[in-house]
C-alpha cells in the first residue's frame, strides 16, 4: 500500500522511480572522436567478441566461425560451430567459445570438448566468459528468460533474471555465484581472485563475493558490457549504448512498452541500439540539438561507441568514443594486441585499432 502511494507520488512529482534523469557524459567521459577516427583493422560478418590467445594470436568470433587474425589483418578459419558464437575467452593454452546452449573448447588441453549447459530457466543468453586462476570459467548469463539476440526485450521487460556462474571443466560442475542480476554482461577476475561483472540494466560494475553483489562503480551514463584487464594496470570497459531520457521514460511506461513490443517490429522499438541510421522510420536516433549549423556537443546520441579506461579502483580515467553521426557504434569487446587496443564495434561489425601509445 505504502509502496503504491509512493509510486503515485513519484509519478505525479517526477521524483524517485519516475525521475528519468540520466548522468551526463563529462569529465573522463567527455565526448571525443577517437573511436570514429580509429583505423579499421578487420571487418567481417556478425563480429561478436575477441581475445588474444596464449600464443599471441588474435581470435575473433564472427558468426558461427572462430577466426585467427594476423597483424596484417589476414584471417584464417579455426573452427565453425553449429550456432553463432556469443562469447569468447582464452583458457590455459586454448580458447573457449560459448554458443546459446554450450561451451566449446578449441585447442589446448580440452580441445574438442563440448559442454551442454543443462539447468532450469536457461535461455541461452551467455554473453561473457573469463578464466579463473583456479582453473574454472566464470560465465555471465544476461537473462534467464530471453535469448542473447533478444536483449532489448529483456531491458523492456525490466529483466532481472541474469546470473553469474562458475564452470569447472575438470568435473563438469556448474555453480551459481549470483542470480537476480539486471543483465550481467561481462566477466572479470582480478589478481586476488575477486569476480566482477557489469550489470547493463543496473548501469554499474559489481563485485560478487559470497553470493552478494557490491557496486564498485555505479550510475554509468550508458549500458556497460564486457570488461578486461589492462596491461598497464586497471581495466578496460565497453559500453554498448548510452542511456537517454526517452528510453528511461519508455521503461517506466509499462502499458506503452507492452503495446510496442506486441505490435511493432523490434528494430523500430524505442530502445538502445547497436547501430542506427539505416531506416528513416527508426525512432529518434539522436538528440539533434543543432544550433547555428553545428551539432552541439551535448546532444545526446542513442547509438554510441564507448570504451572506458578504468583505474585499479574502477574509476574512469578517460574514454574513447564515436559520436553522433559516426559509424563505430555498439562496442562490445576490446583486447590489447601488439601495442594496440583493438575495439570490436558490433554495430559496424568492425575491429578498430588504436595504438596504446596514442591514448595512454
Amino acid at each position: 500500500m505504502l509502496k503504491q502511494l509512493k509510486r503515485m507520488r513519484d509519478r505525479f512529482f517526477g521524483t524517485g522511480e519516475a525521475d528519468t534523469s540520466v548522468p551526463v557524459l563529462d569529465g573522463p567521459l567527455k565526448p571525443n572522436q577517437l573511436l570514429e577516427n580509429a583505423e579499421v583493422f578487420f571487418e567481417g560478418p556478425a563480429l561478436e567478441d575477441l581475445c588474444v590467445a596464449a600464443d599471441g594470436r588474435l581470435i575473433v568470433a564472427s558468426g558461427n566461425a572462430l577466426v585467427s587474425v594476423s597483424e596484417a589483418s589476414d584471417s584464417q578459419l579455426l573452427v565453425s560451430l553449429e550456432q553463432p558464437i556469443q562469447a569468447l575467452t582464452t583458457y590455459r593454452d586454448g580458447i573457449v567459445a560459448a554458443t546459446s546452449g554450450s561451451l566449446h573448447f578449441v585447442g589446448g588441453h580440452f580441445d574438442g570438448k563440448k559442454h551442454q549447459i543443462a539447468k532450469a530457466s536457461f535461455a541461452g543468453c551467455i554473453n561473457a566468459l573469463c578464466e579463473h586462476p583456479d582453473g574454472s570459467i566464470i560465465i555471465s548469463e544476461g537473462s534467464g528468460r530471453h535469448p542473447y539476440v533478444d536483449w532489448s526485450r529483456d531491458l523492456l521487460t525490466d529483466g532481472d533474471s541474469g546470473q553469474v556462474l562458475q564452470y569447472h571443466p575438470e568435473t563438469d560442475q556448474l555453480q551459481l555465484l549470483k542470480q537476480g542480476l539486471k543483465y550481467p554482461y561481462g566477466a572479470l577476475v582480478d589478481e586476488q581472485g575477486n569476480i566482477y561483472t557489469s550489470e547493463s540494466w543496473g548501469h554499474r560494475i559489481i563485485q560478487i563475493t559470497d553470493r552478494v553483489a557490491y557496486s564498485v562503480y555505479q550510475d554509468l551514463p550508458g549500458y556497460p558490457s564486457r570488461l578486461i584487464k589492462a596491461g598497464a594496470g586497471g581495466y578496460w570497459l565497453t559500453v554498448f549504448a548510452p542511456r537517454n531520457q526517452l528510453v528511461e521514460f519508455v521503461l517506466r511506461e509499462t502499458g506503452f512498452k507492452n503495446d510496442m513490443m506486441a505490435t511493432v517490429d523490434p528494430k523500430y522499438w524505442i530502445a538502445p541500439a547497436l547501430s542506427s541510421g539505416h531506416d528513416f522510420i527508426e525512432p529518434l536516433q539522436q538528440g539533434g540539438v543543432r544550433q547555428m549549423g553545428q551539432l552541439k556537443p551535448w546532444a545526446p546520441a542513442r547509438s554510441y561507441g564507448l570504451v572506458v579506461r578504468l583505474d585499479a579502483d574502477f574509476q574512469p580515467l578517460f574514454s574513447l568514443q564515436s559520436r553522433v553521426g559516426g559509424d563505430h557504434h555498439g562496442v562490445t569487446a576490446v583486447a590489447e594486441f601488439q601495442g594496440s587496443l583493438l575495439v570490436l564495434s558490433k554495430g559496424a561489425s568492425k575491429v578498430l585499432r588504436i595504438p596504446l601509445s596514442d591514448i595512454q
Binding site: F12, F13, G14, T15, D19, T20, S21, V22, P23, V24, D26, G27, P28, K30, S215, Q218, D219, Q245, Q291, M292, K296, P297, W298, D313, Q315, P316, L317
Partner: protein, 496 residues
C-alpha cells in the same frame, strides 16, 4: 592649467595609525585617473577624504586652486564631487526612481513623471534597469548601475568610482567604459579604483599607485604595463604567480557530485554535469547564466523545483537539501560571492566567525560553546591562512577585503568538507591576497577535495581550473580541459 582637484600632504590617522600618510595627488580636468593598490593601501580613505566622507587629520584640499574643507558628502556634492561606493548606498525599500532623485524631491512629487525621467536617464546610459522596481529586488550589478546613474544625474564635475566593474558583465562593462569616455568628453574628471588591472590600463589616462598608506608613483598610463603595476603595488614581482600559463592538469578522481537535469524556476534549466575529487572545476558564465543558482541548489541555499526538479547525487547518493545545514553536515561547503551579506558576522571577531562555522557543522551537537576552543580555533586558522590582523579577536569588519575573504574560507574549511564551492573567491580582493587565495584553492585540490570555482574573471578560471564548465542560460553548455581552453573558446561558448 590648474588641476581641478589637488591634495597636498594629506594625512589621516586612526588611533595614531596612518591610513593615508602625506599624500600629494592631482586630478586634471577631463582626466580618467586610475587609483591602484592592495586592499588596505589607503585608496578608499583617500577618495573618501575627497568626497567629504572622512575629514583629513592634516594637509589641504584644493578645488580649482581654492582651498576647501568638506565636513560631509553633501558639501562635496554641492561642489560637484560625487562618489559611487563599492557597497551601494541605496535605500533598499525605495524604488530605483525614488533612489535616483533622493534628496532632490520637490514639494509635490509625481511618481509617474519621476519614473519617466528615470527611465530616460537609465536608457541614455544603456542600463537595463526598471525604475519602478524596489532596490532590494535588484542584483548587485543593477544596484551599481543605479549608483552610477545617480552620480551622472547630479552633474558632478568629479566622479569617484570605487570598484565599479566588479559586478558588471563584460557587455555591461563595455557600456560603462563608453559612458566614462562620454563623461570625459564632457569635461568630467574621473577617479577610478579597480583591482582589474587591465581595466585601469584600458580606460585611464594616468595611474596612481598606493602602498602602505603612501603614494608610491603617479604617472601616465602609457608608461605602465601589468607587471609594473603589480610590482609597484605589492613591492615584489607576482605576475608569474597570478598570470602564468597552466602547464598541467590534475586527473579526475572519484565522481563526487552528479547533477542530472536540475531545474530551478527560470534560472536553472535542465542542467547536468559532474564534479570529481582531486580537481578544480572552474565554472564560467556571464551574470544571469545560472551558475551561482545551480551551485546554491547543490548546497541547499535555494531549493530546486519540487516537481521534475532533476536529481543531485552526492557521493553516489541522491540528496535534496532543504536547508544549507544539511549540506554542510554531509560535507558541502559553499563560499558565497557576497561575503559582506552572507559570508560573515561583521561585528564578531575572527575567532568567533570561524568557530561559528564549526558549530554549524555540528548542528545540535554543541549546546554549549567553549571560549577557549573558540580562541584556539581562531588562532590556528589565522596562522594557517595567514589572516593579517593584530589579534584573532579583531572584528572582521576591520579587516581588508582579502583578509575578510580568508575568514569566510576558514569558516567553511573548518567544517572539513568534501566538496568546496568557491563563488567569486577573489572579487574585491587585492592582488597580494589573490595569490594567497589561489594557493589555498590549489592546496585543497591537491589534498584530494573536489573544488568548484565560479568566477567571472577568465584569466583566473584558466589559471586555476583543471576542467572548465561554461554556463549559459541556466545550463552547463560546454566543457573544456584546462590545457585546451582559450579565452576565446570560453567566451564563445558562454555567449553563443
Amino acid at each position: 592649467m590648474t588641476p581641478i582637484l589637488e591634495l597636498k600632504g594629506i594625512t589621516k590617522t586612526y588611533g595614531g595609525v596612518p591610513a593615508v600618510d602625506g599624500v600629494n595627488f592631482t586630478l586634471n580636468r577631463g582626466e580618467v585617473h586610475a587609483l591602484c593598490g592592495e586592499n588596505g593601501a589607503g585608496k578608499s580613505t583617500l577618495t573618501k577624504i575627497m568626497a567629504g566622507v572622512v575629514e583629513p587629520s592634516a594637509g589641504e584640499l584644493l578645488l580649482e586652486g581654492k582651498k576647501v574643507q568638506f565636513r560631509n558628502p553633501v558639501e562635496a556634492q554641492r561642489e560637484g564631487i560625487a562618489m559611487v561606493f563599492q557597497e551601494t548606498s541605496l535605500v533598499p525599500t525605495m524604488t530605483v526612481g525614488q533612489n535616483l532623485y533622493l534628496g532632490n524631491e520637490k514639494f509635490f512629487n509625481r511618481l509617474r513623471g519621476l519614473y519617466i525621467a528615470s527611465q530616460q536617464l537609465l536608457q541614455s546610459l544603456n542600463f537595463k534597469v526598471d525604475p519602478t522596481k524596489t532596490v532590494s529586488e535588484l542584483g548587485a550589478a543593477q544596484k551599481q548601475m543605479v549608483e552610477i546613474a545617480r552620480a551622472v544625474l547630479h552633474k558632478a564635475r568629479v566622479i569617484i568610482f570605487d570598484e565599479p566593474t566588479a559586478t558588471l558583465t563584460p557587455e555591461e562593462k563595455r557600456y560603462f567604459f563608453d559612458l566614462i569616455r562620454k563623461l570625459k568628453g564632457d569635461g568630467v574628471s574621473i577617479i577610478f579604483i579597480s583591482h582589474a588591472l587591465e581595466e585601469a590600463l584600458e580606460i585611464s589616462d594616468r595611474i596612481t599607485i598606493m602602498r602602505d598608506s603612501k603614494l608610491i608613483v603617479s604617472d601616465d598610463t602609457v608608461n605602465f604595463d601589468r607587471e609594473r603595476i603589480i610590482r609597484e603595488m605589492v613591492g615584489r614581482d607576482l605576475s608569474n604567480t597570478l598570470y602564468g600559463k597552466k602547464q598541467t592538469v590534475r586527473p579526475a578522481g572519484k565522481r563526487v557530485l552528479s547533477v542530472q537535469n536540475l531545474r530551478m524556476g527560470t534560472m536553472v534549466r535542465n542542467t547536468s554535469f559532474s564534479v570529481f575529487s582531486g580537481q578544480i572545476t572552474g565554472v564560467f558564465g556571464l551574470i544571469g547564466s545560472g551558475r551561482t543558482e545551480t551551485f546554491k541548489v547543490v548546497a541547499g541555499v535555494i531549493k530546486r523545483d519540487y516537481t521534475h526538479g532533476g536529481k543531485v547525487l552526492f557521493n553516489d547518493r541522491p540528496v535534496r537539501y532543504r536547508v544549507p545545514a544539511s549540506a554542510v553536515a554531509e560535507g558541502i561547503a559553499y563560499i558565497t560571492e557576497d561575503r559582506k551579506v552572507d559570508g560573515f558576522f561583521e561585528t564578531m571577531s575572527i575567532s568567533r566567525n570561524i568557530y561559528a562555522g564549526a558549530l554549524a557543522k555540528e548542528r545540535l551537537g554543541h549546546m554549549l560553546t567553549s571560549s577557549s576552543t573558540e580562541k584556539n580555533v581562531g588562532q590556528a586558522w589565522r596562522e594557517k591562512l595567514n589572516i593579517r590582523s593584530v589579534t584573532a579577536e579583531a572584528n572582521v569588519i576591520e579587516l581588508s577585503g582579502g583578509n575578510q575573504q580568508k575568514v569566510v574560507i576558514a569558516k567553511s574549511l573548518i567544517q572539513n568538507p568534501k566538496l568546496v564551492i568557491f563563488d567569486e573567491p577573489t572579487r574585491g580582493v587585492d592582488v597580494g591576497a589573490v595569490a594567497e587565495i589561489h594557493d589555498i584553492i590549489r592546496k585543497l585540490a591537491d589534498e584530494g577535495l573536489a573544488v568548484v570555482m565560479i568566477s567571472s574573471y577568465l584569466p583566473e578560471i584558466m589559471l586555476l581550473s583543471d576542467r572548465i564548465l561554461v554556463s549559459r542560460q541556466g545550463r552547463i553548455v560546454e566543457e573544456f580541459n584546462g590545457l585546451e581552453a582559450t579565452q576565446e573558446k570560453i567566451m564563445y561558448a558562454s555567449i553563443h
